[in-house]
Subunit: 220 residues, 2 copies
Amino acid sequence: MTARRASTATTSPRPRQPQRKARGDYHHGNLRSALIDAAVVLISEHGVAGFTLREAARLVGVDHRAAYRHFADRDAVLAAVAEQGYRDLHRLVTEALVDAGPSIRTRLLTIARVYVRFAFAEPGRYQVLAGPHNYLRFPTTDTAVDDAFAILVTEIERGCRRRELVNGDVTELAAWFWSTMHGLADLILSRRVRVRRELLDGFTDRMIGRGLSGVLRKAT
Amino acid sequence: MTARRASTATTSPRPRQPQRKARGDYHHGNLRSALIDAAVVLISEHGVAGFTLREAARLVGVDHRAAYRHFADRDAVLAAVAEQGYRDLHRLVTEALVDAGPSIRTRLLTIARVYVRFAFAEPGRYQVLAGPHNYLRFPTTDTAVDDAFAILVTEIERGCRRRELVNGDVTELAAWFWSTMHGLADLILSRRVRVRRELLDGFTDRMIGRGLSGVLRKAT
DNA sequence: ACCTGAACACCGTTCAAGT
DNA sequence: ACCTGAACACCGTTCAAGT
């Protein structure tokens, strides 16, 4: 599903078997990312609860015990999936903002579109990101969450400076916007609301736009 | 934790042991609700992922196999927890609305307060309610969800009729409000935002109020 | 009707050992 | 360094049997 490139290139051609390892192929950090990829696939198919260390190892073609070389336990794999997801989200948002223009309304809607599209396109990974965990046990994941959140804070600050947003605590406003995006994405993912892919951006604009009007100084 | 009354009263006094059954005590539907209660306790303590049929049965003092008399499988227990939760939420909201006055702003804020308080007070049950499941497999749970949602639809309709709300599809507006409540509750529960209990209602008002201003016709 | 002993195929995790 | 066989204590679920 998700094509992920390991730092060390594999010289032998890929066999078309479900990723059997060729012969000690997963040294040098390959196994770690292969397991993460396998986890993402399994979670997409069976949900977080249906994800199993043993099956991930099987998918990669390795004894399940090998996973413990790279992860302390099952939760550590999930934390790694979350971390990778937050970083991807960070990158996607950053890229989208380049062409988003100066208006804070447009910029926040752009972020929301990317966020909701991500949830729609990769429900498995989103489920992990948005899960009930906090990642204090996993500092690098925690940092990735903070980094992603920092984008929102930066944008909200911009909006306040440009006097496009109402007054208010910046962090709280950022949290508020995050919660509206997250609420919407969750609603769609749990099928409590059904939207076709082609209508997704429009729907996002409409839903997020409603709340946004409440924090904009004047209608845009 | 949650005191739940079974339809058939137990005549013998409760032993203070962790709910051992007295002697064929869980006939006539007692076991079912005892298992639901046990599930709620376990989920509060260990999260949904940590909830186990076998441990719930152990807590009730019954062989784990007995659970299958009342539930098709583990998911059915979770669906029952969700159903009970949605019904409690329904009742709490309905009660709170009695004294909420006519203004749609106040009424929606009242609903949000109850919702967020529920999530804060019973994270275990909320986690099940808000989980990634849709309950099509469990018709009675599905109905409970619809019933809870219907309250929102009714209120939004009221608001539109009284011309306090902007024009828009009523169901979509109701979904929108649900998503803002849900997003906020989730944010608090996952500790991405920390609020003390005494400040919870005020925080809810502030957060929900922001978005709400976007759908009200004029400031209240 | 309601409950259970024994069993099956699975888990996550650990130990002690192989290259 | 990286990988694995064997084992442990757990799961969810089923069968066949008890009252």
